[in-house]
Amino acid sequence: MRQMLPSTRADRVRWVIAALIVVFALAVPPLANLQESINPDSSAKFQIFLGTSALVLALWSVSYNLMLGYTGMVSFAHAAYYGVGAYTVALLFKRYHVPVLEGLLLAPLIAALVGLVTGWIALRAVRLYFSLLTLAISQLLYSIAYGWYAFTGGDNGIHGIELPDRLSDYGALYYFVGAVVALCLGLMFILVRSPFGAALAAIRENRERARSVGINVKAYELAVFTAASAFAGVAGGLFAIFQQEAYPEQLYWTANAQPVVVALLGGIGSFLGPAVGAFIYVFLDHVITSSSQLKSYFDVTLGAIVLAVVLIVPGGFSSAPDLAVRIYRRFRPEAEAALQPAESMGDAIRLADADRGIAAAAIAAVPVRTGAVLLEVAGLSRHFGGLRAVQDVNLVVHEGDRYAIIGPNGAGKSTLFNLISGRLKPTSGRVTFDGRNITGRPPHVIARAGIGRAFQITSIFPKLTVIQNLQYAMLANRGRTVRPYGIANRAYREEAMELLAAVGLDGLAELPAGRLSHGDQRAIELAISLALGSRMILLDEPTAGMSAYETQKAMELVRRIAGERGLTLLFCEHDMEVVFGTAKTVTVMHQGRVLVQGTPEEVRRNPEVQQVYLGELETEPEVVSR
């Protein structure tokens, strides 16, 4: 039985709202004419003009939200690409006499090209530094538009762009702009629902995790940055057409306030939110500037609104449907009880079912060749300044092995894992996986090569549902996220469900992963690492924070799946019971070096290990019992 969740009801409300928006947008010119015929003081032309500017703003803001809301990138350069679009149309017309409609076709291409080149530079940096770098790029483009007087007209900008006769009527221009905007919105909608969009969502939710499931984060960020630039270019081109001018302030970094405010007002969490925000913004703008008292306080009012939205209702206008559903359900308690989703009790792992895991199609099914070398680490070192975190480490992991690395905190275990999984680059040495040199390759390449990873500190995609966590990981690892069409949420549903059942999470599949309790999130972490279809899995303290029973249950699951499906395990762990109960081979690390390696029994009896790590404690009970 498919459970009716609150989100699906809100989704229906959203579709209704989207339909209403389309109807409203279509009705703007007739309504404006009607109003003028009733009230001769109002100007239909002006109303339609406002409507046109709202449409263009909607396109610009939705394209901004491809980065802001869908990928989690804050760019201060989006206005610059909008400006590039406007200048493309304006300059082609003025300098080369290219008609504006042909100019409009070129606008996205030029904007995309500029976006691609500048984005490539900006994406050398991450997060905050990326934002500040886009600021620099934006100012650079602005200073070209402003300073290259001979070509761009400097601070005067370009005026007097002429339209073809067909578009000289305000109503016709409105519908033309509306059609272009609708086409672009349609393309963007397909994009965000596609497997490509899934990769963007994964990046937004957790960059590090996205990388470790096989997503080339920088490439996807550059792709979405370029695509957003192209759509901004269309918006800018439309601006040049309906305003019949282009000027350098369009590119100034503070101009980014507009799409940001609009996206926030409408809500960055929904596709059409910014489009709704655009109409609200144009209306507010009109009200404020036509009032003589408010006019001089435009920035103050705008700032106050943004501050209020950020601090009080971060969901913006588009969270209204959820709010409405919540209020509706408050008056219908019986409906609420029926809709209440299952509660995450943190006992998923107790419900784990190893047999279902063994049968899961998501797990790699490469038969074990008899004990061939799978991973070889040779002379691997990593220094941080003077600190030798990992020093000349050699390891050989055979297929089907369960290989444990132990040692105190600071021994270099996590650094070693980060070196193998590509999160850190080694200072020297070599890592070979399945005969292939993977030394210093980026994490997404290593993930795709067949090394999956579970993190010590739970690393999932918190706002995605539990099942999406697995679906998107599978899409990424199987190289499907390059597809910009199709519907990501329909891919690998059965396979993901199967795996969720194996770790005891099938009852919670549609809940946002971040809402689950700590223990259940550990189970997601484990499921993601299994879903990757990897031949080898790196587990960094897989049972951290689990009770003794859960630890036993989780390790049994891992051990049985690994055994039956030919997975190779490389794990580190502080719990010696887990280590000696699971591992076939053990390596002890101490101060960045390998102290000893061998079978669990050899390691346990090694006097050096007893001296620096195990001490007397671990052996004491045995001595007593003998």
């Binding site: 040692g407 105190p408 600071g410 689990m546 009770s547 003794a548 790590y613 195990l614 404690l617 671990e618």
Partner: protein, 231 residues
């Protein structure tokens, strides 16, 4: 009574994780707080320290009621914290790490000099950044920092976590020093062998409640240990 806790409740969002907890530790006494991973030991310690917004209840240090005060005022009233894995301020020198906890509260038993007497190693490392210390040295520093505030009670949150077992064995000696100084010690530990050797009494937690209490000697090898900790 140097540390007493009554009716401590902790909520994380909607879920209730520690229930009506009651504890008393006399000065010069070490009380071990034992339980499985996830039983609520760390939550109890951080709750008593005032670090959790969802914690409520009476907490008394010496004769000062601090249950409604922010963490820094609890610290000033005589509570000191040794976090798990002996966390320190890595970007401060050893000396700065010690000085940071010295707030003028009128109690002057512990000074930089007396702590250097206890841990001569720290004096040699005085000007080093804490980031470069080994696990054992960090342990000394974390305890030294706690003592610098001349505490009435020290709360240890799994001090042995992530340390080499060989370093863990030195902890018993430390506890004896603290007892001698008349400090009340609450020791939350996963490592029950070490904890029971150092403690006078032990309480056992399960699912956010205290389920048993007994002298440490009696707890060693007892049926309770087996039932609750699964050993």
């Amino acid at each position: 009574m140097s540390l007493s806790v009554k009716g401590l409740n902790v909520h994380y969002g909607k879920s209730h994780v520690v229930f009506d907890l009651e504890l008393e530790v006399r000065s010069g006494e070490v009380l071990a707080l034992l339980g499985r991973n996830g039983a609520g030991k760390t939550t109890t310690i951080t709750g008593i320290l005032g670090l959790l917004p969802g914690a409520s209840g009476q907490v008394r240090v010496g004769d000062i009621e601090v249950g409604r005060r922010p963490p820094y005022r609890r610290a000033q009233a005589g509570m000191a914290y040794v976090p798990s894995g002996a966390r320190c301020f890595p970007n401060l020198t050893v000396l700065e790490n010690l000085e940071i906890a010295a707030h003028g509260n009128g109690r002057r038993a512990w000074t930089k000099e007396t702590i250097y007497e206890l841990f001569p190693k720290l004096e040699q490392l005085e000007a080093n950044m804490a980031a470069g210390l080994s696990g054992g040295e960090r342990q000394m520093l974390a305890v030294g920092r706690a003592l610098m505030s001349n505490p009435r009670a020290v709360l240890f949150d799994e001090p042995t976590e992530g340390l080499a077992p060989v370093v863990v064995q030195g902890l018993g000696e430390l506890m004896r020093n603290l007892k001698a100084a008349g400090v009340a010690v609450l020791l939350a530990e996963q490592n029950h062998q070490m904890a029971l050797r150092a403690a006078d009494r032990a309480v056992f937690m399960e699912k956010g409640r205290i389920v048993a209490e007994m002298p440490a000697g009696q707890a060693r090898g007892s049926e309770v240990l087996h039932r609750i900790l699964g050993v």
